[in-house]
Symmetry: C2
C-alpha cells in the first residue's frame, strides 16, 4: 500500500478546504460504496465524461469496456484521466435560498491508466469489477472465456493522487435568518435496492446467495 | 426551442448506437429527473470532473458556484465543458460474468458556458437551480440578496449538442448459457428519499408544502 496521503498539487481542493481529505481510507470507503464512476478524458481540449462501472483492488482502480470503445482506446494511450465517484446523502434546505446545499461524499482520482495485457490479470480484474457491484457474484456466474476476454479492454489506474470532499450536517443559516419562521433541515437520500426481477426464461432457479442483502425485509 | 436533434459529430455515440438518442425531450426527461451533474473541464490536457447541482430552464443548463471556484472561473473563460447526468435504474445479473450490465439513463451535454452578468438573470437562474432540487422551494425560502449574488457565479450552457444513452430490460445471455441453472435477472435500484430531519434550532415550524412529496406514506 502506498502512502496514506493522496494529496498532490493537482488534487488539492481550493474551495472550502475544510471539507477536503486526502486520506486513503476515506477515499476507499467512498470508492467501495459507490456503484458508478464518472470517467473524464480530454480529446483536443474537449472533455468527455462517461459513466462506467469499476472495481477497486488494493491501490488500483479497475475499469473495463469493449475493445471498440473510443474512451478505452484513448485511455490506453496514456492520456490523463479523472475518475470521480459521488455518493449523495441529503438535500440541505436552509432558511435562505443562498445556503441551500447537498450532503455528499465524492472522490476524485487523477492519473493515467494502463491496459492489463496479461489475460489472467485481466480476468481477475473483471471478476473484481463484478464483485464490486454484487459481492460474491463471480463465484455464481460463468467465468469469462478467451473469446470474451479478447473483446474486452481492462485498465488499471493506480490510486496515488486523489481527493475526498464531503459535506455533512444541517443547514448553516445567517443568524439574522433564524427567526424567519422558514422550515430548515435535511432530507436524507440514499440508493434503494428493489425486489429482484427474474429473467423470464429462468425457470426454477432460486435467488442466489449474492442477492441476500437485496431481499426486501 | 432549438432543433429537436442534438446530434453533432462530437456527441455521436460510437459504441452500441442502438442505445443512443439525440432527441431533446428524452434528454430533458433525464436532466429533469437527475439531481447531480458531473461537470468536466480540461486544464492543460488534465481533465477534472466535479459533481455539481444544476437546473434547466428551457434549452439552457444552469450551473453555479462561488466566485472563488477554480472550476467556475475556468468555465467563464469559454473553455469547452462536458456535463453528464446519470440515473442508475438497475443491476443486470446474467448467467455469464461477461454479460453482467447496468440499466441506466445518461445524458452528455457538450458546449461552452457563459456567465450571467445581469443580476436579475443570475437571480432567476439561482431560483431555477433551487427549484430543480426541491420543486416549489424558492417561494418558501428567503431570496438571495445583493451581497449573496456578488459571491456567486452563475453560468448558462446552451443545450445544443448532446446525446442520451440508456439500457433497459433483462440480461442478454448466450443461448449456450441459458440452461446452466444460474440465476439471472435485474435488481432495480432507485434514489430513495428519507424522513426530513428538522434543524435543531427550528422551533415550531411545520414541514413546508415543498416537502410534501418527500413525506413517507
Amino acid at each position: 500500500m502506498g502512502t496514506n496521503q493522496l494529496q498532490t498539487e493537482a488534487t488539492t481542493v481550493k474551495r472550502l478546504p475544510a471539507r477536503a481529505s486526502y486520506e486513503r481510507d476515506e477515499a476507499y470507503a467512498v470508492l467501495d460504496e459507490g456503484l458508478i464512476a464518472h470517467v473524464g478524458i480530454a480529446v483536443d481540449g474537449q472533455p468527455f465524461v462517461i459513466p462506467m462501472v469499476y472495481g477497486r483492488d488494493g491501490d488500483r482502480l479497475l475499469l473495463h469496456g469493449s475493445v471498440a470503445s473510443r474512451l478505452l482506446r484513448t485511455l490506453d494511450t496514456g492520456t490523463p484521466v479523472c475518475v470521480t465517484v459521488t455518493i449523495l446523502d441529503g438535500l440541505v434546505l436552509a432558511r435562505s435560498q443562498f445556503h441551500h446545499s447537498m450532503n455528499y461524499r465524492s472522490v476524485v482520482v487523477l492519473g493515467t491508466a494502463t491496459r492489463l495485457g496479461d489475460p489472467a490479470a485481466a480476468a481477475a480484474a473483471l471478476e473484481c469489477i463484478v464483485d464490486h457491484i454484487v459481492p460474491g457474484r463471480p463465484a455464481e456466474a460463468r467465468p469469462g472465456n478467451d473469446a470474451e476476454l479478447r473483446q474486452t479492454t481492462v485498465l488499471e489506474l493506480p490510486i496515488e493522487a486523489a481527493s475526498v470532499k464531503r459535506r455533512t450536517g444541517g443547514p448553516i443559516d445567517d443568524d439574522a435568518d433564524l427567526d424567519l419562521g422558514i422550515w430548515a433541515g435535511v432530507v436524507p437520500v440514499h440508493l434503494s435496492i428493489g425486489e429482484p426481477v427474474p429473467d423470464p426464461d429462468l425457470g426454477d432457479v432460486a435467488l442466489p446467495a449474492s442477492l441476500d442483502p437485496y431481499r426486501r425485509p
